[in-house]
């Protein structure tokens, strides 16, 4: 019976109801997009790291895994690692900011890199042909409308797109290692080393041997599993607080919208609430009606937010596919639903309290 009243009340003011639901939907999609983005970016980084095909990653001393730029390892170390037991291939890369956005360009030794990773799959063009060739992945190409032969500026120089490859290996922009080293004044230096073993089962043993070597003290030596596990939300500085701040803002906005919506609803239904009380309705009964209304708003808003998050994923893929990856995060749906419903109910408490407190006789004579 109360459900009937709740449904009728919501239908009675369709625009107000719709706007409240949309506002809650926006609250929810904000959270889902942000969480989906951070998770998508992390997954993408892990996927690309695995795409290199290395069993072991070596990073120079004093660098964080996640801040890749800079080159402080001598290139000679590649040869050292290549000569160690179980090592089949060792190669390295120099990481350089591409100068725009979040992209970075990596200078690679292409033959070794292809050997390790199983080779690029060229959708267009081929490997570096001249000293001005750039390889980009398909997402980067489509985002920037690049074709083989296009000119493109990276590290303050114009390059020719020589090959477009399937995404998923290390990064989206590749140049020959020696060119990047020379252009950035890092001749003979690299940012990281990748090592492939005869058998992945030997990884732990080899990592232990490297770590036991006093000359490698301070170097970050990671199995690929360790390395990818470092890509987590806990290791991304400021992401967690940022997510919390956005959640807080989103919930606050949802709260305010429902507060106003229910406040006006209670005001315009003053007389009806008086009628319910004249029929013997206790405060709990009236509170129940209003909370259920808010709960329905919250629930529908939460569902709408989930639907919206598919939309934001589409937009992200369409307009920022090379830079950003957004995942759909179903494990967060219960949380956002709880936040939406909880926020809506919280926003209803004060209006409901006013409704319950108002004098029945005054309410009955209210027009």
């Amino acid at each position: 019976m109360v459900n009937q009243l709740v449904a009728e009340n919501l239908k009675h003011r369709p625009v107000r109801t719709l706007l409240s639901i949309v506002a809650i939907g926006i609250e929810v999609v904000l959270i889902l997009t942000l969480v989906g983005l951070s998770r998508g970016m992390i997954d993408e980084a892990q996927r690309r790291a695995r795409g290199v095909g290395a069993d072991i990653w070596v990073r120079p001393p004093g660098t964080s895994v996640l801040s890749l730029s800079g080159a402080s390892m001598p290139e000679k170390m590649i040869a050292y690692f290549a000569s160690q037991p179980h090592v089949v291939v060792a190669t390295g890369s120099i990481v350089q900011s591409a100068g725009t956005g979040l992209d970075n360009v990596q200078g690679i030794q292409i033959e070794h890199f292809e050997k390790m990773s199983g080779g690029f799959r060229y959708l267009e063009g081929g490997p570096f042909a001249g000293s001005e060739d750039l390889i980009v992945d398909e997402r980067y190409a489509s985002q920037n409308k690049l074709k083989v032969g296009s000119r493109w500026k990276v590290i303050n120089r114009e390059w020719r797109v020589g090959g477009i490859v399937e995404p998923g290996k290390l990064t989206r922009l590749f140049l020959p290692m020696n060119l990047v080293q020379d252009l950035t004044g890092n001749t003979g230096k690299i940012s990281q080393i990748f090592i492939k073993l005869d058998d992945s089962k030997n990884t732990a043993e080899v990592v232990a041997a490297f770590k036991a070597n006093p000359q490698l003290a301070g170097y970050g030596i990671f199995s690929i599993d360790e390395y990818t596990s470092l890509w987590s939300i806990d290791n991304l500085p400021a992401i967690k607080p940022f997510i919390f701040i956005v959640i807080f803002i989103a919930v606050t906005v949802g709260f305010i919208v429902v507060f106003l919506s229910m406040y006006t609803a209670v005001l315009e239904r003053t007389r009806e609430i008086g009628v319910l009380k004249s029929l013997g309705a206790q405060p709990g009964y009236i509170l129940g009606i209003l909370l259920r209304e808010a709960g329905v708003l919250g629930l529908l808003g939460a569902v709408l937010g989930v639907i919206f998050s598919f939309g934001t994923r589409m937009l992200v893929a369409r307009f920022a596919g090379a830079m950003l990856v957004q995942h759909i995060v179903p494990d967060w749906w219960p949380y956002t639903t709880a936040l939406a419903v909880g926020g809506a109910m919280l926003g209803t408490l004060y209006p409901a309290w006013k409704a319950v407190r108002q004098d029945t006789l005054e309410a009955l004579s209210y027009d």
Binding site: M1, Q4, E272, K277, L279, G280, P283, Y285, T360
Partner: protein, 226 residues
Amino acid sequence: MTNGGPIIRVQALRKVFRVGDVDVEALRGVDLSVNKGDFVAIVGPSGSGKSTLFHILGGLTAPTSGSVSIDGTDLATLSENGRTRVRGSKVGFVFQKYNLLPTLSARDNIAIALDIAGKATEPDASFQDVLRFLGIEHRLDHKPRAMSGGEQQRVAIARAIVNQPAILLADEPTGNLDTASSDAVLALLRDLNQRMGQTILMITHNPEAAAYANRTVKMRDGRIVS
């Protein structure tokens, strides 16, 4: 239920409203007994305290002093929630303005009174008889705004009696109705009283309406004068 004594017993009832710095004495010592099965018309000039008396009888507001007991329950000692509970179980209200919930159908307007009382919302067979008797059976799926004043008032009466209250309080129930609808509603109240033994108190300004009752109480200046 009652043990032969009056179903309403009011003694030395006073109600003072404070408006700014001024005290308005709406009731100045009312004594009244109503027996089960009575149909009482309450008449008197505007401002004489009729509605105020009803509001106290129905527990909508607390008396300033005096005692009020409905069907054996003393209202004066109850909290607001306690009075609300008594109202839900022992008192049915019918207002001049019908006061139906505009978003609900007639059926649901009646059912919500059952729901508030914590009963199943499907009225039982005997209640179906009442609906037939009120002549609103065929209008139950309509919303109030699609109904005439007379029909709305009959739905309001159905809602007021669906929980079988000890007393039915009707404050100028025909005040907004044309003569024909008015006569129908009054006849209905009389039938409710005569056939079902429903105790009814009805405020009216209209002597013809008062004639439907079997007892008339006159009020003036916050007192009962006869």
